[in-house]
């Protein structure tokens, strides 16, 4: 459930298809995921999961797989 939710967030924030959101999707490897979109992505994750990411985590959030790893620190589980 959270996997799909996060996928939707990435697709919405980056303006890409959900099919493009895989574990290997990484920051700055597609034109849509630049630094500006990164901030929109962070705002969307904050909002949808009702959290506030630490600045260090914002900087570490370098891929979809890494996002899942980071979110577990905020008690958001992925099966």
């Amino acid at each position: 459930m959270n996997q799909q939710k996060l996928k939707s967030i990435f697709a919405e924030a980056l303006g890409i298809e959900e099919s493009q959101v895989t574990d290997t999707l990484a920051y700055n490897t597609i034109p849509e995921w630049d630094s500006v979109a990164h901030m929109a992505l962070v705002a969307e994750i904050d909002d949808q999961f009702d959290i506030m990411l630490d600045t260090d985590d914002v900087l570490d959030l370098s891929s979809f797989a890494k996002a899942k790893e980071i979110l577990q620190k905020y008690d958001i589980r992925f099966e």
Partner: protein, 247 residues
Amino acid sequence: MLLKNKVVFITGASRGIGQAAALLFAEHGARLILHARYAASLTETIEKVAKVSSISPYVLTYDVKDFPSIKNSFKAIKKEFGRLDVLINNAGVMNESLLGLVSDELIGQTMETNVHSVLYHMQYASRIMMKQKEGSIINVSSIAGTNGIEGNSAYSASKAAVIGATKSVSKELAPYHIRVNAVAPGFINTDLIGHYKDERLEKVIESIKMKRIGEPKEVANVFLFLASDLSSYVTGQVIGVDGGMVV
């Protein structure tokens, strides 16, 4: 009412300009979030606000140099209000010292309080405001930041840094319809100038074209303009509130 139901966060709201802003914004229907280092120091502001508004302020107490507390405060704001319309970065310190007497400790304390905390408050506020696609951030600089004041190099440097940060962030956040401006007060009747007496005070007043000290409310009036839709097309600006002071 220019700010009816707008959620407004004011740091350093216990006295002076911050308190004046709290009162003015309460009169204009804002839902206030008031910050001070200690809860007791906000008592006077809260009592005054209660006389002009039926909405009780939400209180946050922390040292602005304690950066994890800044994040926790914004988490609390998000939980309590779900949004943030206006942030006023007003908390600050002024430590006078001639250049030769400026210490590492003084520089560190001044920069952490006046610059680092402003950046972190903007960072977290913008995360809430970006989602809303609207918001106004007002940073309090100083005539010391625009013109420099002798015996105040660290403070002047910190307030100049606030201007640089304001202009930079205004460009980053404009696409999200978040406006970011700075206000540069001159010589205002607050505790910060309490040690100016007699000849020294007269000399400063002489340097002000309007020949008087400014009042905190006169700065708060400019905050109100920048916080409200009256300034809907104004961003990246530094507005002096100094009565024509020359330094």
